[in-house]
Every structure is written in C-alpha cells, then in structure tokens.
C-alpha cells in the first residue's frame, strides 16, 4: 500500500456472502463492491433500509465478519493492514490499539461491576487500574448513570442504561477509529445529546468514525458524509 494514503479506513470492492449449510447450502449475498474511505476527524454515516447490509459492513471493518473478497485497508500504528486477509493476531492488535466498536447490545461478563466493565479497555492498554476507574466514573457520570449503580454488573440494568454503559465502554479509549452501530437507539433526548457531544469531541481529536443511525435528527448532527449502502446491494 502506498505511503500516500491519508485515509484511516480505505475499503475497495469488499464483499460478503453467507452460505447457510443447514438450509441446503443456500447462498445469501449480503454486499458486493463496497468501496469508500474515511479520513481522520470525519464521521461517515451508512444509510439504507434495514437488511441492506449496514451492520454487516461495520462487522467486516471490525474483523468480526470475514470478507469473501476485496480489501479493507486500516491505518494501524505506522502501517496499513488489510483486515480482509489479516491473521487473527493482527486483528486483535488492531482492536486493541486502533478500532473501537460500539454495538447495540452489551455483551458483558456476569459478575463484573459496571465501573470495571467500562474501565477494561484502558486497563488492557496499560492504564493503571485506579486511573482507569476514575476516567470510567467520569464518563458514567456524564452519561447519567447514577453512582449507586457503578458497583453492580450491567446485565441487571434497563435497556437504556445498558446502552449507555456500552457507549462509555466504547468511547473511553483514545482509539483513532470508532464504529458506531445505533449508538442512540434506546436513549432519551438528554442522553442522545450527550452522545452527540462525545462524537463531536472525538472528531476534534481526529478520530475517524463510521456510524449507523436511524434517527434523522442525529444523522444531520453527526454526519460529515453519507454513504448509501443500497448501491452495494448484492443481487440475490
């Protein structure tokens, strides 16, 4: 890859098909010819109806879904890694220091206190536990999670509270790329505004973001560019 690449994410002709072996080998083409790039400090919003493959594209960028073709160039440390062909160890390294992912649902380990769930990405990157917990608390407070809940594990929380814990977990690190899958879906207006603020801060820090948001108002507030996923529809 050329050293001239300035984009944090540069996707060329990526494609994904699911083969359902338990359903007689039915092939489900999801997306084809996915090509777009994201610059530092830019938020690209994927648009298109449900089922168009928006979440699949995010998962491909995170290395959670494997690509069947094409290239997903990610600027990682001082090099560019193609996540479509990367080794598992490289993908893990990219996730530790380059790409964060805020999914719609929190997959938390039973028994772990909320404040530690949120602090975990910092600790994994070498921040001292006390400092990590302090930052975790500050972010939880900002997202209106009352302090009396911090010692409890998030699976006991309401949907909106869990989503805010998830957002805190995703936003706490200083990673140069963030993927956001419906970050405001079950939040009230006040908390949606906090998330918009957090996204603005990340932009100012030069973070490249790809987001899926159904709420038109939020989309207008955060999108620098919109990529229409229907153009990547794979003919069934």
């Amino acid at each position: 890859m050329s050293a001239l690449m300035t984009a944090m994410i540069d996707i060329t002709n990526a494609e994904k098909t699911f083969t359902m072996h338990l359903q007689g080998g039915v092939e489900l083409p999801v997306v084809r010819g996915v090509s777009f790039h994201v610059e530092p400090g830019e938020c690209v919003v994927l648009s298109g109806p449900s089922g168009a493959g928006k979440s699949s594209i995010l998962k491909m960028i995170f290395g959670n879904y494997r690509c069947d073709g094409g290239r997903i160039g990610i600027r990682h440390k001082d090099t560019v890694i193609d996540l479509a062909t990367a080794e598992p160890r490289q993908v893990l390294s990219v996730r530790r220091s380059t790409i964060g992912y805020v999914s719609q649902f929190l997959r938390a380990v039973p028994r772990v206190a909320t404040i530690d769930v949120v602090a975990e990405p910092l600790i994994a990157n070498g921040t001292a536990r006390a400092e990590a917990r302090e930052q975790s608390g500050a972010l939880l407070r900002r997202l209106n999670i009352p302090e009396r809940l911090w010692a409890l594990p998030p699976p006991t929380f309401s949907g909106g509270e869990q989503q805010r814990v998830n957002i805190a977990h995703g936003f706490i690190s200083d990673l140069p790329i963030l993927l956001l899958d419906e970050p405001t879906a079950s939040l009230d207006a006040a908390n949606r505004a906090v998330v918009v603020e957090l996204i603005e801060e990340k932009k100012r820090q030069g973070v490249a973001m790809v987001a899926i948001v159904h709420d038109d108002e939020i989309r207008h507030l955060i999108a620098d560019r919109i990529v229409d996923v229907t153009s990547f529809a794979a003919a069934a």
Binding site: F18, G63, R66, V91, P110, A124
Partner: protein, 266 residues
C-alpha cells in the same frame, strides 16, 4: 515471588504443533494438526466428544507420544525445542513449573486427603521452596485470589464443594507462575452459577498473569468468554479456525454452523 528471567519475546510462538497425528491401531484419533500459540494467547479447542480434542491436548502437553509430526516449546532460554527430545529433568521442569494442567475432574489434579494449603504448597516445594512460613503465606494469598476463605486452608479438598475444588486446582497450578496452562473442560460438571464465577475468575487471572492457555471445551460460551482464537475439531481434524468471535458469529463450515446453531437461547 521473584520474577523469573524471561527471554521469550511476544512475537515468537511459545508452542508450535507441526502436522501432529495420533493413531490407535487403525483408529485415527487426531490427524494433521498444525498451529502456533503465542505468549499470552488463549486458544479454545471445541468439538463434540470423540472429535479428538482431548487426544490433542494430551499430545500437546507431552502426555502422549504422537504417531506423526511434533510439538515444539520455547523454553525459558528462548530456544524452541522438540518435546519428544527433552531430557527427563527438562520435562519435569515443564510439568512442575512452566506448565499448568487443569483437569475436568479436580480429584485428578489435587490430592484429596491432604490440606488445601499443602496442595498449593506442594508445587512450590517441588521447585525448591523450603521456608514453611513463606510457603504458607503464598498458599494463603493464592486461596484468596481464587476466592476461597483462608479459614479453610487446613481442610482437605474432599470437604470442599465442586466449585471450590476447581478453584483450588487452579490455585495449585498457577502458584508457580507458569507460562502455559492446559485446561480440559474446566467448567464441565459444575452448576451454571458456579461456572460463571469460575469463568470470570479464570478470565481475570489469565489476563493479569499474561498466561497462554489451551482450553478444550464443548461449550461455545466458555470459548467465547475465555479465548482469543478457536479451533473447531471433527473426526480428528481441525475443520475451521480463526478469531473466536469470527468463528462463532460467522461460521463457515457446515459442522461449525451446526454447533453454533445448536446453542439453546437462555
């Protein structure tokens, strides 16, 4: 406990399996398995009973001699050595210090009639510790780390519950600060609530100590919580391998899709 000199680098594999195979007469238990495990990496081997995963674990931990291929391990001096060519002293060093082995049945990994403290202390004495007070203090701090009430230190594990026994077995294995731990169905046979606690504990210990681990399990939830990478075995072969969340969320092989789709929703 003093840090042992560690000359192994993180970007060099700790253990390498090279075209490993095992036959019992005409029966092939395990065939053509190759992979590299890096320091700090947790690999889960999943598959149903009879898939060859337990045979593989025994081959990797030098408890069985392979019929084909070999296993190499990077000793603390940084040199990668064929396990089959190790001398008796080196082999003993691995089993007593550098490796841990957590059995599904704690009775196989513990001495059931001696005290919990002695179970943990024994591994330390085997590597030359001889100060009773220090051994007891270290044993006691390990009981705390695995959440066993230190008031029970003089009780024998036969008086412990299943979950406590398994946690004691883990303490006994980790007290010598191994670099690699083999686990054979570590949560099998435990109640679900006890499993969750054990998994959480193992996950923390593995990441705090930077352990590499090979975990054999038929439980995909265990693989998801503990491992970075997964190998799916069927009929003695590795049929699919990759990042754990990739293999579980985007399984490719028919058998892996069947395994993933067979999980009962909670």
């Amino acid at each position: 406990m003093a840090e042992l000199q560690n000359t192994v680098r993180d970007d060099e594999p700790l253990l390498v399996a090279d075209h490993l195979g095992k036959n019992y007469g005409r029966l092939t238990a395990c065939r053509d398995v190759s992979f590299a495990l890096y320091p700090g990496e947790v690999l889960a081997v999943v598959g149903e009973s009879g898939s060859g995963k337990s045979t593989l674990l025994q081959l990797l931990s030098a408890q069985l001699a392979p019929s084909a291929g070999r296993v190499s391990y990077r000793m603390r001096d940084g040199v990668l050595r064929d396990l089959a060519a190790l001398g008796e002293a080196e082999r003993r060093f691995l089993f007593r210090t550098d490796w841990g082995y957590v059995h599904q049945d704690p009775a196989l990994g513990l001495r059931m009639a001696v005290s919990a403290g002695a179970n943990v202390g024994e591994r330390l004495m085997a590597v030359g510790w001889n100060h009773y007070g220090r051994i007891r203090d270290t044993a006691s701090s390990w009981l705390e780390r695995v959440e066993i009430d230190t008031a029970r230190i003089d009780d024998a594990p036969r008086t412990y519950s299943g979950g406590m026994r398994q946690r004691l077995q883990i303490a006994r294995n980790l007290v010598t600060e191994p670099r690699l731990v083999f686990m054979d169905e570590p949560t099998g046979g435990l109640d679900v609530s006890v499993q969750a606690r054990l998994l959480d504990l193992m996950r923390n210990l593995v990441s705090e100590l930077g352990l590499a681990a090979i975990v054999v399990t038929h439980d995909l939830a265990v693989a998801r919580l503990l491992s970075h990478r997964v190998m799916v075995m069927k009929g003695g072969r590795v049929i699919e391998t990759g990042l754990t969340d990739q293999v579980l969320d985007d399984p490719r092989e028919p058998y892996t899709q069947l395994l993933v789709s067979s999980i009962l929703p909670a």
